[in-house]
């Protein structure tokens, strides 16, 4: 009788040993060798014949599938993945659903569940680099033939203070005024003559509200997007949210005259004209949905929204119109510019990092720089009814950008005429980068200010901005 428990114990020990052995074997097979690393690094140059070098199989996950994407968008991605895997046969790419939002990104970052390749806004680049929460891919990126062609100020978003590259910018946008052409027509406005001043925006919003019962003008206000939009308006009116002293010390300037004027303008739209509808808690996703559903006349957002609205919100292309943000006559007035960086997860092997840079090169860069890449990308997107030709800003120089547009000319399927008010003027507009220090904290502090103005007729703008400024300064001082 007494021998039985020991017998069970012996069995358990043997099972445990067997599991440990299998675990050891599996981890041994995934360990990259020096040969594979060197080989893959060499393959970073798309023109090299890296596939002739012996490589061990490697799998990377890439966060490029937007949650809720249509089957056609998924098919387009799968086609591109199969092309990549044909070019790099030792790499297996696993697409993951991914959409950057501040709260979900933080949680995934802390939990270590981000994809091997993921994307972040320009505003997060410096902070993640400083905290070493993404991988230094400097040598890999510098092996690419076009690294010197990057617009220096755009590349800087993914570099540390020594100029080392940790993340690669792959798209840049300027903030725009997006408007619904159908709603404009319903309100008796000319959709080919969108407003060019803030006064005209206000007047058109009032007409739209009165004649269509839609929101003439709406704004995002939650999940840090309210602060983002308020900063956009502040820049357009010539103000700034932060000031960097000669000693490098950053001071919060949220209570500047332009921000106050912007809030006063919104207050007037909301309470005097009643032209902002009944929803004041939009975020990026919900305002796109409402716009695509024809509930909003105008709102400020990125110039590249068309893709997301088509992929996720069934936007009728005929509805879409985009123009530049009206700028005040102030010499400091400018268009807030932003963009997205591709970064590599710290929880990756050397071989995965090589493959990750190959993917960044293939998926995001080739289409901007080579005719083959541009055509292949456009063809794949068009074949699956995805947007080709959405207005963005040049990552390299204007000539390269124009050349790319020529290459994909036959595949462009977006209503470019409806985007002309934006594309014909944006390259002459002064672009201003987002606040550099604690950007998301700054935006978060401004969200309640914007919400208060939109939901409380008696909101005291001075008091609200002073409190928010104090809050942000405390965060900036903490470092």
């Amino acid at each position: 009788m007494a021998a039985k428990p020991y017998g069970r114990l012996k069995g358990l020990v043997m099972v445990a040993m067997a599991i440990a052995t299998v675990g050891a074997c599996s981890s041994a097979t995934s360990t990259p060798t020096a040969t594979s690393t060197a080989g893959a690094a060499g393959s970073a140059n798309p023109s090299s014949s890296a596939s002739t070098v012996a490589h061990k199989p490697v799998t990377i996950s890439v966060g490029v599938l937007r949650p809720g994407a249509t089957q056609e968008a998924t098919d387009a991605l799968n086609l591109q993945i199969s092309e990549f895997e044909a070019k790099y046969p030792w790499v297996t790419v696993e697409p993951m659903e991914y959409n950057w939002t501040a709260p979900t990104f933080t949680a995934a970052l802390a939990a270590g569940t981000l994809p091997d390749v993921f994307t972040i806004p320009f505003t997060d680049g410096k902070g993640l680099i400083q905290q070493h929460q993404i991988v230094n891919i400097d040598s890999r990126v510098r092996a690419l033939p076009y690294v010197d062609k990057f617009n220096k100020s755009i590349l800087a978003n993914g570099q540390d203070e020594k100029g080392q590259i940790w993340a690669v910018p792959y798209t840049a946008y300027g903030m725009s005024l997006t408007y619904n052409r159908t709603v404009f027509t319903q309100a008796g406005l000319d959709p080919n003559k969108p407003p060019t001043t803030w006064d005209e925006v206000k007047a058109d919003a009032k007409i739209i509200s009165a004649k269509t019962h839609n929101a003439g003008f709406a704004t995002m206000a939650t999940g840090n997007t309210g602060g983002w939009q308020l900063t956009t308006m502040t820049y357009a009116l010539g103000g700034r949210m932060e000031k960097t002293g000669d000693d490098g010390k950053v001071t919060a300037t949220l209570n500047n005259a332009a921000t106050k004027a912007g809030l006063q303008w919104l207050h007037s739209l909301r309470w005097d004209d009643n032209s902002m509808g009944a929803t004041f808690d939009y975020d990026w996703t919900s305002i796109n949905q409402a716009f695509a559903a024809g509930q909003i006349g105008m709102f400020t957002g990125g110039s590249d929204l068309y893709t997301a609205m088509v992929q996720n919100d069934n936007l009728n292309p005929a509805d879409y119109g985009v123009t530049i943000i009206p700028l005040a006559s102030d010499p400091n007035a400018g268009v807030l510019g932003g963009g997205t960086l591709a970064a590599v997860n710290v929880v990756t092997t050397e071989a995965q990092r090589d493959a990750a840079v190959d993917w960044i090169d293939f998926y995001w860069m080739n289409k901007l720089l080579t005719q083959d890449g541009a055509v292949a990308d456009a063809k794949a997107l068009k074949a699956n009814n995805q947007a080709v030709g959405v207005p963005t800003l040049p990552l390299f120089d204007k000539a390269t950008y124009d050349q790319t547009q020529v290459w994909i000319k036959d595949y462009i399927n977006v209503p470019t005429d409806q985007m002309t008010p934006f594309t014909s003027k944006i390259f002459d507009e002064p672009l201003v980068n987002e606040p550099t220090k604690n950007t998301q904290d700054l935006y978060a502090a401004l969200d309640p200010v914007l919400q208060a103005v939109l939901t409380d007729k008696n909101a005291n703008i001075d008091t609200l901005l002073s409190a928010a400024n104090k809050q942000v300064q405390t965060i900036l001082d903490k470092g």
């Binding site: 902070g127 905290q131 604690n438």
Partner: protein, 315 residues
Amino acid sequence: MSAPSGSTVAVRGKLERRRRRIRVSRDGLSTLAFLLPLLLVFGAFSWYPIVRSLVMSVQETNLVSTLTFVGLDNFARVLADPLFSKAVSNTAFFALLALIIGYPIPLVLAVIMSETRRYKSLLSALAYLPVVIPPVVSVLLWRFFFDGSPNGVFNTILGVVGLGPVHWLGDSGTAMPSIVIEATWAGFGGTVIIYLAALLSVPRELYDAAEVDGASIRQKIWHVTLPQLRGILFITLILQLIATSQLFTEPFLFTGGGPANSTLTVLLLIYHYAFQNSLGGDYGMAAALSVMLAAFLAVFTAFYFWLTRSWSTTS
């Protein structure tokens, strides 16, 4: 039959003790085997996070970089944060509204349902139905009801009598009451079932005696039902207060704490500390506020039971 000798008795006793020891040790092993999964699950998902929160509350960490011991700094920063007092007052306001609106409703419904002779099961099922609906679904459903445009469900109803439209969730004054209404709807079913069960245990003779004494329905409820239920009432009251102190899902999904922080609760503030900044939240402050909330609730509950110890017996 001869009586067993002393040595035989001693040997038997020894054998019996050994058998009992073996049985006890076998029982102990099987008990442990059954307990082990429970201990592991609780240890991993409840006790370890609690201990980890306590440790993190005195650290500065983003869960990636090297952490630093900061003593009570996180607690001091929480107390100095103007949003802290806002979150506490909002949470207290919600608790008060929930007490006024949400606490009596299940009791009244349970009493009415207990008096109903037909369809009692159907009514119980209907009352419990909202509890079965996932909170996210409930909130999405109620967002339609609370639509601030004149075409919203509630505003259409108000429009019939010439009132509104009301910006239910888009107004600082009505956002929290709107959340209380939804939360009451979503949660009252469970409490109704508890009260119904408790009402069944009230001796019928007490009502008979009251009737003989000429008591009205109101008097029977006041003098028989409520005193008989007071133990349950005290328990549900403290459970409700604890639940309202931990309000998160509704304000998170309905308003995100807005407009202008008017529905920012303590738990939502903890969430904001931890996750609002995409570059890694202030997990130290989040843990510190969590510890403060847990400590407050523990002290409050102890005080509550001490205060009501002499009232809470049903005998």
